[in-house]
Point group: D2
């Protein structure tokens, strides 16, 4: 397929990704090693057609334009790396989410078993590990059982974005495939690394793997560990419900992840059905006066005797006073995102103060923050399969010579998405549409629109 990031020649727009051959002339190609792989050679057409694309717009009308398409992920008929030549590295950046170890495992096993690549190393402790730590060799034996553990065996950190030192390290170590598991900020840095590598004309494929438990990365359907997180959040909601029910005017408040988008809070609420009010960043609310949250709480307590509130960590940030002591911050991560106040503690205090002041009724509020207990668990079966496909898609893309892309599912199919769409796009948020109406209908909470 001719390079053409924006063409109407196909009947649609193809948002294609960069290729090593774009800036390195006369790159040799090799026959696809999968054709000699007994697992692949027996199945019908194991490779994807170079012309395969995936439509972003899945809801269509008669004669509507076909819109943006992405390159489909999968094994290619010819590859741009000789297996012996490949020296891959893997790095995990930012906060934890379930599934990181599964992706690491499947990158290693995919490179080994599909392509016969035996040089894979791990970068320790996030981006800064490129220039400040030794690498660790990764083999199928080393990673065999790691998918059953939470966290990341490579360690992780925020920051460390020193592009030139990172690319120096890549160049010096002779690494030619870089797999970066990271969220919003880390994908931005991945783009800078790719640009620098292209500037230097290096034959190094840079592949992003979207990692954010908030599921707020643009374009793609959902991110690693999301299903597991929603599942585990049920525990906290159940506990809040039991505590609330067992007390007079009991209120259970559960804070869930979600700095810019409330997907976890919304899905956890829809799955649980024990929640009376779900607050997310995308849908503003206010506390005082008619139609406000406090009035709603009072009303619900009078009707039911108890209630459960789920709040995403990014909800209502605009309401928090800045003089709130930061003493309560329980998290040392250096991420700038984390300058958010703890809205769960704030909300709990506001509610207590209201009822203490009004002296209308004595309440009994219990606040639960299950964040670390959710982030740190191993991924469930569904996420394991998801991570496997993601990792294998990443490997196929790099072997095929694509670079500067993030891999991820669009309408259920893994695609290669150019970095700029991930980084320039707005964060994926809950559009307050049908799904949100569904939630409102299940909680019977007010919309907090004046």
């Amino acid at each position: 397929m001719a390079k053409s990031n924006n063409t109407e020649a196909f009947g649609f727009v193809l948002e294609d990704v960069p290729h090593l051959s774009d800036y390195i002339p006369h790159l040799p190609t090799y026959p696809d090693p999968l054709q000699d792989n007994p697992s692949y050679s027996v199945v019908k057409q194991y490779y994807v057609n170079e012309d395969d694309t995936i439509a972003q717009q899945i809801v269509v009308h008669k004669n509507s334009p076909r819109g943006i398409h992405f390159r489909r992920a999968g094994p290619a008929q010819k590859v741009y790396f000789d297996s012996e030549e490949v020296h891959a590295c893997i790095v995990t950046c930012g906060g934890l989410c379930p599934g990181l170890n599964t992706v690491i495992r499947e990158l290693v096993c995919g490179l080994y078993h599909m392509y016969g690549v035996h040089k894979v190393v791990g970068i320790q402790g996030g981006y800064r590990g490129f220039y400040s730590r030794n690498t660790v060799p990764l083999t199928p034996k080393v990673v065999n059982d790691i998918h059953k553990r939470g966290g990341t065996i490579l360690g992780t950190s925020y920051g460390g974005h020193d592009t030139s030192r990172i690319v120096d390290s890549i160049q010096d170590r002779g690494i030619n495939q870089v797999y970066i598991l990271g969220g919003y900020g880390s994908q931005k840095e991945a783009a800078l690394i790719f640009e620098e590598i292209r500037r230097r004309g290096l034959k190094v494929a840079v592949v992003g793997i979207p990692k954010t438990i908030d599921s707020d990365i643009p374009v793609i359907d959902k991110s690693i560990g999301f299903d597991t997180a929603v599942e585990e959040a049920q525990r906290a909601i159940n506990s809040a419900h039991v505590e609330a029910e067992s007390a007079e005017n009991g209120i259970g408040v559960v804070k869930l992840m979600g700095r810019w988008s409330g997907f976890i809070a919304m899905y956890a609420t829809l799955a649980s059905r024990d929640v009376d009010c779900c607050l997310i960043p995308e849908s503003p609310f206010y506390m005082e006066g008619p139609g406000g949250l406090l009035e709603f709480i009072e009303k619900r307590l009078k009707e039911h005797g108890h209630m459960v509130i789920v709040i995403a960590e990014g909800a209502g940030q605009e309401l928090l006073s800045n003089n709130l002591s930061t003493m309560n911050k329980q998290d040392d991560d250096a991420s700038p995102d984390k300058l958010l106040q703890d809205v769960g503690l704030w909300l709990s205090k506001k509610i207590k103060d209201y009822f203490a002041k009004s002296s209308k009724m004595a309440i009994n509020l219990k606040y639960i923050d299950p964040t670390y207990m959710i982030r740190a668990i191993p991924s469930n079966a569904s996420d394991n399969v998801y991570c496997t496909l993601l990792a294998q898609s990443a490997v196929h893309g790099a072997m095929a010579g694509y670079t500067g892309f993030t891999v991820g599912p669009v309408n259920g199919r893994n695609c290669y998405i150019p970095f700029h769409l991930i980084n320039e796009g707005e964060k994926r948020v809950v559009i307050t549409d049908r799904m949100w109406a569904r939630l409102l209908s299940s909680t019977h909470q007010p919309s907090f629109l004046t």
Copy 2:
């Protein structure tokens, strides 16, 4: 949109579904009650456009034809039932799967809270309950907590397909919306019920909700409880792995659901990574001789000292001798499908006999059949959300006057699919393609092709 099941006027083929107005003239319509529902009226464009369709073909090439599309599920701007007029019934048919109670709950709550429908009854014990049992009233209060329990509160059974008695009962009781949760056979009967209702000219919407843990229903992405089943299957595989590892030449055999299609076995294997061989109905295998299963087992035992085999219940049926005692059948279900022999016991015996006869090595085989322990658990969070959307889509469709359709996700979006595509289509099976290659590559098992 004009009725047109096969038109190219749109630039694609729309496989549309029947509508009550197709055979009942002059049906009155009513404004959408959702516009007065505070949960819906606050969000942008809560209803779906009548022209919205979903493409079945998601992988496209330049200028490729747009293929088959389905009607998108969702709230319509005008409805064909007055809320007061609706008398809905729900029936569950066939074997258990996780999520039945969630669908029942959400049908009831959806009808009540979205449309103000208050007459909903449950049919007890499957199809035969229409003519042999009393109905039970279903209210939001009754169904409030049932999603936390496995099974179905309505009871279920196989068979009972007496179309005219069923339609008599529907007519006599004044029921005008029929929600049928059932698998392959039950959807076929749902189509017969719809045909008879159309023949009699009754204003009764018939809606199928696909229920089969095997996920073998054509067209749709996956069925209720699939994620939960794959998750729960991990337990059995883990146990088989521990037993096998702790013994000399230990073999763990796990039988999983899947009569015609091996999706559960395949996904459970991919999620677990502890499986050495996965056998599914779609990929034949043979026991004896070079390249056969027994040879592979012997080889794997010599290399690793233990192995785990996962077998779908429908795999290898052609190999089973018919004189196998049926004494071992552990299931009384009257489903004709269930005339399958217990392939897990058969395989276990074959392996034991082989090693006993060859006296090459003493083995230690443990057979685990977790079927009922998987079917009977409550649905997980992911399936709860899936069931919620399915149930609400079903309700929107019936209220909008559509009938004779099954609701289900196509490329991640819920659609209305005409019964004939479900019933005349082939069962959905694992296509032995890239995903199967992925599995072969993870287990390193032979392909058993001569």
Copy 3:
């Protein structure tokens, strides 16, 4: 057996419990209804001998004195209540713990099925429910499934100790068996209720059932829900461990229940093996200087790169400054015990400040408070059996005319223990002996003795 609370006539000291006949003369007795109960009449000697006692001192030396013994719990050969006459009530007081609903269930089912008692009511919302709320009738059908839910179906609260209004209510309602599930403070109030009832000469049996997740009630082996709590605490410790391991100089801090005694913290630490330091109220520690906690943390981080600290909520209270903002208190319970500061937040801040100030190393601390997620879960199988025996023992004791006692296991056998031993005894604490040495040996933490 003659009434004799302190006699050496038996070769040991019997700490016997009060009996209704002590202060009500000429009480009629009835033959044991169990002899007509088919479940009991078939087994050998279903009743316990009136002379059966249990030794408190289980470790003995040659010719050592036999020490204190307690009356063994169990069915008696004659009872002091006619089944028709019994009007029992159940009340739950104080904070939640796993197993409350199981005890309620088994009290109700024990009274019904063993003794044919059909008048059982629940007091709602703790002690104050006696005089401010309606009672709720409790039948085997009502309580059938409640043991699968956390919390208490009766609701609970702290305080409400108005002895005369409570006894008035008991007298006015004609209640003659009072089952009180409560902890330290609630058992004290139970004793006052018993005294007032004896003063008024009422034929009312008052039975205490020890409920405190901290397991700090004197004399008895352990309390309801302890096993479940230790099990559930593993989740939080695991998460803390994963978070700590995935970060550079990662520290996971987990706060567990235990105001006066560190049993949960100690057992959870011994069960987990991922803990580097366990801090309990019984074993003082200090922060600064040589041999202090901060020095140990620094040392452990340098050696292992990460560490996990478990702290009981009552540990180190003497170290907390009183000017700590109470804004962080996440609990509204009115229990005076709860004036404890949140030592977990305090400790986390102290550690962060130390490393920030010393600027020797950047740390990454995550604080987890799983308290409510532990308290609110249903009891596990082991606790269910424990609760069943406790409830049945309570019922046997009341039917046999004993009163003013707490029921609980001593060396594995349920006994009746007079209130004064429970209330005047010191709280049960971790004796810093062999078990504590075991813990120190497993964590390799210092003893913090100067």
Copy 4:
């Protein structure tokens, strides 16, 4: 304390255990290394008094004899092994149960951390590993995480009882502490090994650690993994209950472990409360005629519409005809115990035949055999602590020079019990007394006594 296995000089009978000094004269002793261990030296009296004994009879009457006592387990003030001299081995024999890996871990860590012993090896694959396999070195690092996995890292097998080859191997390898984890048969072989070692006059301590999930070992309170097994059995019972409830005349049959004793079945039934009938080896039953099981099933189905039956694997063996095909046997273990027929399949067939023949009602029976799914899981927190104490007690005993004993809890305290009491005693069974009456009262099943 003078050696005296049967003396009344103490006021009780002490069933003491052998000591190396009984048959090896002039053995040197060493000061207890724990006194230099910082974890132990800080606590009050870390060692147990040599005179400490534990009473077997805990229920006593006035002036009743004090009966049999056992030597209390724990650290001694002087030891008979120099730490440098110790060469310990660990072997696991027979079937799996939860907790084996925890015991292995704690033996290794106990020897290392408490006594500074660094030579510990594992015998692979059960008794025959002594003479047919290499040993594996065991260090705290190797065993660090094994308690989180089910099974045994050493592997296990039945049989291999070749006493002289085993003792040859012990002697040749210079092993002087032998820790044997095994059940009934394996403890018998341990006794033979001890006798042979004594005959040869070797300074080798032989310690048995009771391992049988059935909890049928005499004298001791319960065995490793029992709590975990009862907990996990709840899953199977829940599933059987859901399946039974969802079908017309649904019957769920669950087979649980228990060849000679029904403890697991009984406790699982008491914990669950969803069971209608529990059948154990100790309480015979009959099928046909008035008062028989089939009549009871029919009655219960008519009343409730469904029922759940739990049957221990050893129950009703006398009823099984010997011509039952052994084809169904799912277990290759060479244990002679395993010649039991599969009573669960037999019972299921009997019930089906009865209702098919009587044609009174169509039933729907589901049979669940969760045996391997229970045996293979990791131990829960409670069992982890239990295993830790057991392992440390074993180590203390061997270091103190005791031999030929099994370690286990008696009335909650770990004791050293001479092999002959374990091996000559009858298997521990459910005495059909108060606990059994409790069960009958909870299930309302008949006693099946004519």
